[in-house]
């Protein structure tokens, strides 16, 4: 083959992904005088962060002065069923308020309290009203603020560029990556002293998901292929409230803010069923009557929390059980009712996008009728194992922040903890990268053979005139994962998934793509599929090993948590190489928590 020619760029810090974490990392590294490049699969400002609705958790104490980082830390650890990297949960709780205030200095306009401070709203699993927000479009505010800051700094942003693979130097340090421009299909290499993965999530492997086409787990997969470790991959969050009808929008997110603002869940008999699903762990702090629960919204000292605001894993399982018991809605969900509980004016002001979304897409006026909702694949707690303080992986020069990182949320993420995660750890990754460069031992050349191999592999589908349609494989993968690796799992189905994933792996090797390289979605999908399959295998493998139920991982054959398994993360890694290389798994013990933090968890409330 003749030597390919392609564009080449060089940076101190290359960031893959332009959502909240990537942009925050870019700002930090840029402010430290480093040459920063950002690569994104989409246009700038379109990342999945815009989909975040309810808010950004930070113990600022603006609404409840008794709130503080210690309570936020405790809530996060309890929500995560103690599988969290405690140090990440600690840093997150301590630093989130400063990250919110900093956004305000960059132009964000949050909703206000009567005395002019940033207003905070209630969400599941948070003891106090803690989410800074802008109506129900907080993610848009976050991304626009960071985007405008990055643009004002003159940072280079490479849009609609798909990264295929990370590239090392001869010593095994990260040296950059190879990708292609979607517009032309031409290849490009980025050489960098450090690479920060900020690629977000992976929900696109499931049929019903709140994630956009971008959520294909690229960063998770590329990290695995490059020698980093993935932890807690079995822990996938199914958000309790996704739209269920019309079918074409099934899975589309309905913000938890609906419940935070007074919305309740009812089954087809009209019962407020969540009272029947309060787990022992949350019983002491959850109301046991509708009357008590309803007092709480206005005054958190007048009653205990409504059960609708339990952590997401609890609520999703309850909805699943109601539907299974035959008490579901006509389209296989349950009802989320705010219409009978709040005024039309209140609903339109607090939840404008939800009002709009249901009106336009389902023809439902949520100020008059209940919404039909059900669980939707939303978030992956699992991710790349990193050092909490620096976000560095075990591969020198490789960092990860945001949803692609693992550990912060343990087995289940609390709503509102994701936006704050992005900015807390995006910033830390920027600092981590700067310090790594300062230490002076970084890569200065890329392994050319690895670049060539990635390019050849990407072009293979064009060489076949007959073969698999990538859309068929994607469709079959999503159906299969939905059925076999969904919200409730068992050994038998997970074995089926394992076999099927091996079949999909073979099918991907026989993809034939029609058309040319310029903006060809069929080809783009073909290059996303290796990551989607690697990701799905990692989730399935983790789910087989974790023979217990914990947070976002529920086994019907092991319905209870197992204390011993609660002490370990399962860490998956390859010896490097190809996307279908064998994966090793080891049990990696959790960090040992200092006594003063342990005391916070045990404290009575």
């Amino acid at each position: 083959m003749t030597e390919p020619t392609y564009e080449h760029h060089e940076y101190d810090v290359l960031i893959i992904g332009a959502g909240g974490a990537g942009l925050r990392a870019a700002i930090e590294a840029g402010q430290r005088g480093l040459k920063v490049g950002i690569v994104t699969k989409s246009l700038l400002g379109k990342a999945h962060t815009v989909m975040a609705e309810g808010g950004m958790a930070a113990a600022m104490g603006n609404v409840y002065p008794e709130d503080n980082w210690q309570v936020h830390f405790r809530d996060t650890m309890r929500g995560g069923k103690y599988l969290n990297n405690y140090r990440m949960a600690e840093l997150h709780a301590k630093e989130a308020p400063d990250r919110v205030w900093e956004l305000e200095q960059w132009g964000a306009l949050f909703d206000r309290t009567k005395d002019g401070k940033i207003l905070q709203r209630d969400f599941g699993g948070h003891r106090y009203a803690r989410l800074a927000h802008v109506g129900d479009r907080t993610g848009l505010e976050l991304i626009r603020t960071l985007q405008q800051k990055v643009v004002s700094m003159g940072t280079d942003v490479f849009m609609e560029c798909k990264v295929l693979k990370l590239v090392h130097d001869a010593q095994g340090r990260i040296a950059g990556c190879v990708g292609y421009w979607r517009a032309t299909g031409e290849f490009v290499t980025f050489q960098a002293k450090t690479v920060i993965l900020a690629t977000g999530g992976a929900g696109k492997s499931w049929k019903f998901t709140s994630n956009s086409w971008e959520g294909t787990g690229d960063g998770h997969a590329m990290a695995l292929w490059a020698g980093a470790k993935l932890i807690d991959m079995e822990c996938v969050q199914f958000h309790p409230t996704g739209m269920v009808w019309p079918l074409s929008v099934r899975g589309l997110l309905v913000t938890e803010g609906v419940r935070g603002d007074g919305g309740v869940l009812r089954n087809s008999l009209g019962e407020r069923f969540m009272f029947n699903y309060v787990a022992e762990m949350f019983r002491a702090e959850t109301a046991d009557s509708e009357e008590e629960a309803d007092k709480w919204y206005d005054d958190h000292t007048a009653g205990r929390r409504p059960p609708e605001l339990l952590p997401r894993d609890e609520v999703a399982r309850a909805i699943n059980a109601e539907v299974k018991a035959g008490r579901g809605s006509p389209h296989g969900g349950v009802y989320l009712d705010i219409a009978t509980r709040r005024s039309a004016e209140f609903i339109r002001r607090r939840l404008p996008s939800m009002y709009h979304q249901f009106m336009e897409l389902a023809g439902v006026d949520i100020t008059r009728e209940a919404m039909e909702i059900g669980p939707t694949c939303h978030y992956i707690m699992g991710g790349v194992q990193v050092d909490a303080d620096s976000q560095q992986t075990v591969v020198p020069g490789l960092f990860a922040a945001g949803e692609v990182g693992g550990g912060m949320h343990g087995a289940n993420r609390l709503g509102g903890n994701s936006l704050s995660d992005l900015v807390v750890f995006g910033r830390r990754a920027g600092i981590g990268a700067a310090e790594y460069i300062e230490a002076g031992s970084f890569a200065t050349s890329m392994d050319q053979a690895s670049v060539d191999a990635a390019i050849n592999e990407a072009l293979e589908p064009f060489e076949r005139t007959e073969g698999e349609n990538p859309y068929d494989i994607q469709h079959d993968l999503q159906e299969m994962m939905q059925v076999n690796v969904g919200i409730i799992r068992n050994a038998e189905e997970l074995e089926v998934a394992t076999t099927k994933l091996d079949e999909f792996t073979e099918r991907v090797k026989h993809i034939a793509v029609k058309g040319g390289r310029a903006y060809n979605p069929g080809w783009n999908l073909a290059t996303d599929l290796p990551a989607m399959i690697s990701l799905s295998k990692a989730v399935t493998r983790g789910a087989i090993l974790r023979k217990e139920s914990r947070g976002g991982h529920t086994r019907e054959d092991f319905p209870l948590p197992d204390a011993a398994l609660g002490e370990v993360n399962f860490a998956q890694s390859t010896d490097g190489g190809n996307w279908d290389s064998p994966v090793n798994v080891v049990a990696s013990p959790l960090l040992v928590m200092p006594d003063e933090l342990k005391a916070l968890l045990e404290e009575a409330h």
Binding site: L43, G107, K117, S212
Partner: protein
């Protein structure tokens, strides 16, 4: 079984033509669903841009039956009977099929002088809901660029793009000018380099905004008053001094330390 027909423009910068796709009709579908079904079957290389499929990211802007629309928010059953025509946005250069080169907008974004706030007091700035609400309306913008697409100043006159920011950026400037914390002054820039004067208030932008932002009434007209008055009218200049004072008062209040 009822059917739907999409008439989709296919081609690139060298030219192209319409192609018809007829599929069975599914309940509740939006235009983007039908495009996706075409991609999954007949035309895997049909280029379109999309992300969230929920009306929140503004990626899937095209022209449906000649009008700028988001494909993800346009239900098939709301369109008139007969074939549905889907074309790329006219104002921007074609990349391929329904995908256009919207880099004009990113060039304009880079020209906007950033917010210039005073140092933040301990405990954060104080701002009041009525003061942030004006800016919040403009920050609902999802950057679908359909207001830019429909604006005849650049839709019909390519050369105007050199010196015209367009409605999306007029709301951005308005937002910054009305921001309670801002200490920057962009009025000369807006008048001289951003071409605010070219807008003759036909409100086409407001009509296509999927976020229902009152672009003309709430951003462009107040911005015009502010900019033009500042330059030509001594009485308004005095008025501006007073209004400026109002802005300064809000600013003073914002940096009062928390009690």
């Amino acid at each position: 079984m009822a059917e739907v027909t999409l008439r989709v423009w296919r081609g690139d910068s060298s030219g192209g033509d319409f192609e018809n796709y007829t599929l069975e009709q599914n309940e509740g579908e939006v235009v983007l669903d039908v495009i996706h079904r075409i991609q999954a079957t007949e035309a895997p290389d049909l280029a379109c841009r999309w992300n969230c499929k929920a009306g929140k990211c503004g990626s899937c802007s095209v022209e449906i039956n000649g009008k700028p629309r988001l494909m993800c928010m346009t239900r098939m059953d709301t369109l008139p009977e007969g074939p549905v025509t889907v074309t790329p946005m006219k104002t921007f250069p074609i990349i391929r099929d329904l995908v256009t080169d919207v880099s004009f907008n990113y060039v304009q974004a880079a020209k906007v002088p950033a917010l210039m706030p005073p140092p933040m007091p301990v405990g954060g700035y104080r701002m009041f809901q009525e003061d942030v609400e004006r800016g919040q309306e403009f920050r609902k913008c999802i950057e679908c660029f359909m207001c830019q697409d429909v604006c005849h100043v650049i839709r019909d006159h390519e050369d105007n793009k050199q010196h015209y920011a367009g409605p999306r950026f007029f709301i951005r400037y308005a937002e910054l000018e009305m921001h309670p914390l801002d200490q920057n002054d962009r009025r000369d820039l807006i008048r001289e380099d951003m071409g605010l004067g070219y807008c003759n208030i036909t409100k086409c932008c407001t009509e296509v905004c999927p976020e229902h932002i009152k672009i003309t009434d709430n951003a462009i007209i107040p911005l015009k008053e502010r900019v033009v008055d500042a330059h030509y009218d001594p009485v308004a200049w005095l008025g501006r001094k007073i209004r400026r004072k109002t802005k300064t008062s809000a600013l003073d209040a914002a940096v009062q330390p928390a009690p």
